[in-house]
Each structure stands twice: as structure tokens, then as C-alpha cells.
Subunit: 153 residues, 2 copies
């Protein structure tokens, strides 16, 4: 495993833990430009009451503000869970160069599991993809969250 | 054609014209709850420098703020162009009940053209869909925009 990728995926896991503290489904993301973190995001769907406030969308919007434009070419997004269709589509729309994700999502994954939006040759952009990085840690966080949630029901 | 649907699609076209005035790709959307427009949006990608600032995402975020939560069940979204994967995914995530769109998008349409995210049985929500409503008007706006753009290049 690439050490640089591991470093940044760890930072995405830090973001996921911030979501966990807020009782949000623990998913985190960071966007990296030239070896530096430009933007960070964690799931805030319940906190903001916003169905689009997934970790990836929050990070993409912050990166675009910081870059001063919507094209995020040459940037890599690290996310702890495989993106859903909305987030995979947002990555295409942002022209991100590369996606690194942790755990696969058999229920809604749109980067290989249910569909593969980020590799679709018919769309006007595609991403390089690396998957499975620190997948166990990302999966444990999610498992812990859902177990805790069930025990309070 | 249903008169109520025509009325609201006309409002979505009004939104698309607002985008045109701003030199944005002219796409507009409105979200309707119990026969009333709850939220409106038009494409602001260039103006905001935000790759997620499509008409639909803007309207969905506004509707969620107004409702005070991310679940937009019982609401219908009217949009002048078939949604891209990001926007179709956002509609699923928002649990919108129904999608009415105008023109089809053979290049990025994710509600029937390239894929059909809003009808995917494997995802945890699906929308009722009506397509082709005032498609000619929506298409003319887009054609006019791209012709004007080319003539200035």
C-alpha cells in the first residue's frame, strides 16, 4: 500500500470519527492537491437536515471555493466508504482526477458495487480508482455506529 | 398533458431563463409540495464556481431547509432537462416522490438515457417519473445558449 495514500485515508477516517461524535453515519473525506489537504468533509445529513450533505459533497464544495472554480482536475478525493450515485456523479462533475475509497458499499456503491459511474465511458470524464484502503477500519466505524443505534432503539 | 404539471414545468422554464441571463447552461427546477412551489433553483455552476450547483441540487437543498429536514417525501421535482447521475442520486437521497423532466439528455441523462438511477430496484428508494413535458421549449433554450456560445468563440 502506498504510504501517501495511507496517510490521507487516515485523515478521511479522522473526519469519519467527527461524524460519529455527532451521531451521524460515520463517513469522512479529504481532497488532496499537490500533496496537501485542500478540503475536508464528514457526513452532516442529520445535523444540517440536508440530503446532499454527504462527506464527499461537502469536501468538493469546499475545495471548489478554495480553488475559486468548479474544476478540480489534478486532485484526489479520499473517502472512507464507496460513494453513492450522487457523490460519484459529483466527482465526475468536478473533474476530480482520482478516487481512493475504503470499504465497499453493497447497498448503494456507485464505484464498482451496484454500478460504476466514475468509470463510465459514456460520460465526459472518468476517474482513476483505488479501493479497499483501510477498509477494515472504515467498516468497523460503520458497524460500531449501527450496533450502537440498534441498542438504543 | 396534465395542466398542473404544465404549470409547474413552465415555472421550471422560468428558472432556466434566469440561468440563461447569467450565461449559465439554462436548466431550471422547482420542487412542489401539496400544489405549492416550496423551492426553486437554476444552474449556477459558473456563477458560484461550484460543481454541485446544478438546478436540482440547489432546489433540493432549499426545500430541505424549508421543510427542516432531509426527507422530501410527497414532493415532486420539475426539471427542464433529464438529471445527471449526481442529481438523480440526490433525488434518491432526498426521497422525493416524483420526477417530471422536460428534454432528454443523451450525453449524461441518468433517468432513462444512459442509466436509470431513479428507477434502480437495488437502491433504497425509487421515484415515479414523467418525461418529455415541454421538452421542445427546454431544448430550444439549450440550443440557443450553445449556438450563442459558439458564435462568440
Amino acid at each position: 500500500m502506498d504510504k501517501t495514500d495511507l496517510f490521507f485515508m487516515n485523515e478521511a477516517l479522522v473526519e469519519a470519527q467527527k461524524a460519529l461524535v455527532l451521531n451521524e453515519v460515520p463517513i469522512g473525506a479529504v481532497i488532496v492537491e499537490e500533496g496537501q489537504i485542500l478540503a475536508r468533509g464528514h457526513n452532516l445529513r442529520e445535523t444540517l437536515g440536508d440530503p446532499t450533505a454527504h462527506a464527499e459533497v461537502i469536501a468538493i464544495r469546499e475545495a471548489a471555493i478554495k480553488r475559486g472554480g468548479w474544476r478540480l482536475q489534478d486532485m484526489t478525493i479520499y473517502v472512507t466508504l464507496e460513494p453513492c450515485p450522487m457523490c460519484a456523479g459529483a466527482m465526475i462533475n468536478a473533474r476530480l482526477e482520482r478516487l481512493v475509497y475504503g470499504a465497499s458499499d453493497p447497498k448503494a456503491g456507485a464505484a464498482g458495487s451496484l454500478m460504476n459511474i466514475v468509470k463510465d465511458q459514456r460520460l465526459n470524464h472518468r476517474l482513476e480508482v483505488t479501493s479497499g484502503l483501510l477498509a477494515d477500519q472504515a467498516g468497523e466505524l460503520l458497524k460500531h455506529f449501527f450496533q450502537r443505534k440498534r441498542s438504543f432503539q
